[in-house]
Amino acid sequence: QVAVRTTLNVGSLDLLHPGLVRADHELNDAGKRLMDAYVALGCEPTWTCAPYQISHRPAPGTHVAWAESNAIAFVNSVLGARTDRYGDFLDIAAALTGRVPDAGLHRDQHRRARLVLDCGGLPPQLWEQETAWAALGGLLGDLAGTQVAALTGVPGDLADGGTTEDRLKTLGATAASAGGVALFHVVGVTPEAPDLDAVLPPDGEVPTVVVDAPALRAARDRLSTAGGGRIDAVSLGTPHFSVSEFARLATLVGDGPPFDDRVAVYVSTSRAVLEEAGRLGYVQPVVRAGARIITDTCTYVTPVLRKGIRTVMTSSGKWAWYAPANLGLDTVLGSLAECVASAREGRVVRDERMWA
């Protein structure tokens, strides 16, 4: 049995909506066996890549062993708990023993920034675009690789009801896909970085890269493999959709027209978030508009998307990064509002004025 509290990442099945996954029997059976085996060890059936949203929020400074690259980046950077990049096998070994190596990001000296990204010169209105956070994540992954970086000039307030957490989720998830980022500091926002000096190594200089709008735009464009035109689907919630994202989506769909019936709209989330968002009235408008809710798994790891889908719009930089290889389809990155507008129109609708 596990020796410490242990939550579970997504599996390959949606246990709440079993008809949605089109995997063959062999894969379904193997997936179910794996999920059951972890639960039998005493792990909690949270089935989410974003346990930090509701299921499990470790206190700052506590030592944890997390796998799942986006969750590693979030728990280190945004919650200020400490984990190294643990992969398959080592994660469950840490759960069973309650121990991790006294090394890597568990140690103070390895949590210092080796690189600074100066974002202070970016146009302020860009920060209102989800795509800017995904693009910055892509750039961070490219520039930092597996190094710890500090970002300056990035706005945010972790007590704002979820918006900043959602943005940093996108940033970290994309950075952990495009690179091997396990920890980043947003100066003035994240808990270990009240100011830049707090996260610089005591012994000297680190390089600074100035991030300007053309670089960010190029990073954004790398996350789309299709330029525009018709879309067949929209995929939201990689990493899993949060309660505050459901609130925003509910507002965006509002009383407006439903989605075009040729466009399949998927929202991946955890059962805990689905329950809470449903209780608050955010799920019903989304379902009424035509979206399908996926729990316990994700549209990029298991066959959920219906056959014939070729071009998919997403607000998730991580989904945009992996889907062309995992699913063999084209992606278009857009903000949540652009995804809703595009789902209604059946084609890519993006507002380029912010980026001009």
């Binding site: 643990y86 690789g145 597996t146 952990a176 493999t225 992996y322």
Partner: protein, 154 residues
């Protein structure tokens, strides 16, 4: 030792084993999960070596990238024979090494991983036949590159 037809390198053994194959130099880090298909082909559309096949090659890469599930993907590729013959990397990556460790334990197949200095990795030729001898213990891993036996080489 360097000669006209070959060169020897040494590095730190991250995982033991002995293997040989054609060199494949990756110009960017690679995530085995989401980056490589079951046949060992690079499917990450963002990767400079997109389309190249890792199976049976001695793969030189700067570091790991991306998914923490790369360990199990690599272990499975070692089991099925679609993994690299050996890996040379500049930055020790626990997730890649763990995949090799688990495959050795479960399947008895040992894929050597040798860490070489970043400047050594950067100066590797683009092709050549490589023999890797990485012995368990504290000794250095030896990497012998024979330029004359490279695929399509002279």
């Amino acid at each position: 030792m360097t000669s006209e037809c070959g060169r020897d390198l040494s590095g730190r053994v991250l995982h033991p084993g002995a293997a040989a194959g054609e060199l494949l130099v990756l110009d960017a880090p690679l995530s085995f999960w989401g980056g490589v298909d079951p046949a060992g082909r690079v499917v990450d559309v963002h990767h400079p070596q997109h389309g190249d096949v890792l199976a049976g090659r001695v793969v030189a890469m700067p570091s790991g990238r991306g998914s923490s599930s790369s360990s199990s993907v690599l272990a499975e590729q070692i089991r099925t024979g679609s993994a690299p013959a050996a890996v040379l990397m500049a930055e020790a990556d626990g997730i890649v090494v763990l995949g090799a460790l688990v495959a050795a334990e479960l399947y008895g197949r040992s894929m050597p991983i040798v860490q070489v200095a970043p400047d050594v990795l950067a100066a590797l030729p683009r092709r050549g036949h490589v023999e890797v001898r990485a012995e368990d213990g504290s000794g250095p891993g030896l990497v012998r590159i024979d330029l004359n036996r490279g695929a399509g080489g002279a």
